[in-house]
């Protein structure tokens, strides 16, 4: 099959699906290997971006999805009003950050990190579909494990959790950047 035809198939499939389609599924549909598929999608995406077309292809974790180009949102909004929601509270954003960086994670872990009960925030995030139960921990009580959703990635325009800045790179502001040895010195 020609590259151009695979591109067209991917375009048709992503269009019809509307939702994000996994790389594996696209490979199965187009009957090409993953490496080829990724390069074809990249080429299609580049072309769309270069030509500044109305639609583009975004990455959602290990899936691809067709979407409108952001710069045309004012026009698109005239036909499909955007979903509005209130900004998340500080507490809820903290929980979301913990889930995004440490998934899969239990309520207990979230609570241990924040030092405070976080049930309300967890419930809110579940309601908004930004996190979901991804399984259960094989431990007493079989507690739920939470992970982030495609909706989170789309909403925050993050292709995958791997694109998040590494947690250790967040500068601990207002504090001298010192390691354990430094700590020792200060204690002395």
């Amino acid at each position: 099959m020609e590259i151009q035809q695979i591109e067209a198939i991917i375009e048709a499939v992503l269009f019809a699906s509307g939702d994000a389609v996994s790389v594996d599924k696209l490979c199965e549909i187009t009957e090409v290997d993953k490496t080829t598929l990724l390069s074809v999608v990249a080429h299609l995406s580049d072309t769309m971006n270069y030509e500044r077309r109305g639609i583009k292809i975004i990455r959602v974790g290990d899936k691809y999805q067709m979407a409108t180009r952001g710069e045309f949102s004012e026009y698109v909004q005239k036909i499909t009003p955007p979903k509005k929601r209130n900004p998340l509270s500080k507490a809820t954003l903290e929980v979301l950050a913990i889930v995004a960086y440490k998934q899969p994670v239990t309520r207990t872990t979230i609570e241990a990190i924040r030092g405070v009960n976080s049930d309300n925030s967890v419930t809110r995030l579940l309601e908004l579909g930004l996190i979901e139960e991804t399984g259960r921990l094989d431990a007493p009580g079989r507690p739920s494990l939470f992970g982030i959703t495609d909706e989170f990635l789309r909403s925050f325009a993050i292709g995958s959790v791997l694109e998040l800045p590494p947690i250790n790179e967040f500068v601990i502001q207002d504090l001298p950047d010192i390691g354990a040895e430094g700590a020792q010195q200060i204690i002395e």
Binding site: F15, A16, S17, G18, D19, I58, Q65, M66, A67, T68, R69, G70, E71, S73, V76, T80, P82, P87, L88, K90, A91, L93, E94, L96, A97, I98, A100, Y101, I113, R114, G115, V116, N117, R154, S155, F156, A157, I158, L164, P165, I167, N168, F170, V171, I172, Q173, D174, L175, P176, I178, A180, G182, A183, Q184, I186, I187
Partner: protein, 253 residues
């Protein structure tokens, strides 16, 4: 420390409060002046109580932890000054981790609506393909079951109404009642007739059956009497008034 002028409600929890105090005092996370910070922390809890704000157990747990660390700090040091001997280490680690997630939360906060200019489309309805499962699981025994099921069903199937066959075999349905009327009409004038004459002019099997049933019906109603007249069966008209009980003779005799 008299005027602690922070809003009480802004803290997400005891760690958040502690980070605030550390930052306010411009001290390092890695060298928390436990004594001072603990004092300020306790003041804050007192303030909360003063404003009738429920001090959750989490704040109290950390308060106890701080007091414990403070007391450990006052004890003379052992000679081997290992890092881990610092009673603050665990708390510091928790604070560092929590602070990192606070930063991450801030990062997410800035991006929260980054995707809001992007629109998606709903999924089209796509007719699923039909895929035949393998025939491998179907065996000849299934055929046996199927044929047995049919045989059972045929046995118990309700008799097909005569009407269903009328078109097929060209029979017309003859009601017993019509034959009763015909036989009675004949008998009223003739008073008696040969049993076989009842079937005169009968064209179909169903008409014959209806005629036979009509005679039986008339016997039951005591309107006719069957007699055996030397091998020739006769039907005699009975007057209705006569309440003579008549035994049922076998008409075939």
């Amino acid at each position: 420390m008299k005027q602690i002028s922070f809003k009480l409600e802004i803290f997400e929890g005891p760690l958040d409060l502690l980070l605030h105090l550390i930052s306010k005092n411009k001290v390092s996370l890695y060298g928390i002046p436990v004594s001072e910070i603990t004092e300020q922390y306790m003041d804050y809890l007192a303030e909360m109580k003063h404003f009738d704000i429920e001090v959750s157990s989490e704040f109290l747990v950390l308060a106890a932890n701080l007091l414990y660390i403070k007391s450990k700090m006052l004890l003379p040091k052992y000679d081997g000054t290992e890092e881990d001997d610092d009673p603050r280490t665990e708390l510091t680690q928790r604070l560092v981790e929590y602070k990192r997630f606070k930063e991450a939360a801030q990062y997410l906060c800035e991006r929260e609506f980054a995707g809001s200019h992007t629109f998606y489309k709903l999924r089209d309805y796509i007719e699923p393909r039909l895929i035949d499962e393998s025939l491998a699981d179907v065996t000849a025994l299934h055929l046996l079951d199927a044929i047995s099921d049919i045989a059972d069903r045929v046995t118990y199937r309700k008799p097909v109404s005569a009407r269903a066959f009328t078109g097929l075999v060209g029979r017309e349905v003859v009601s017993v009642f019509s034959k009763v009327k015909a036989v009675l009409l004949t008998l009223k004038s003739l008073k008696r007739m040969r049993f076989l004459d009842v079937f005169r002019g009968v064209k179909t099997r169903s008409e014959a059956v209806a005629s036979f049933l009509a005679v039986l019906e008339l016997v039951k109603m005591n309107r006719v009497k069957i007699t055996d007249n030397g091998g020739d069966v006769e039907i005699k008209y009975q007057n209705v008034r006569k309440k003579e009980a008549i035994g049922f003779g076998n008409p075939a005799d």
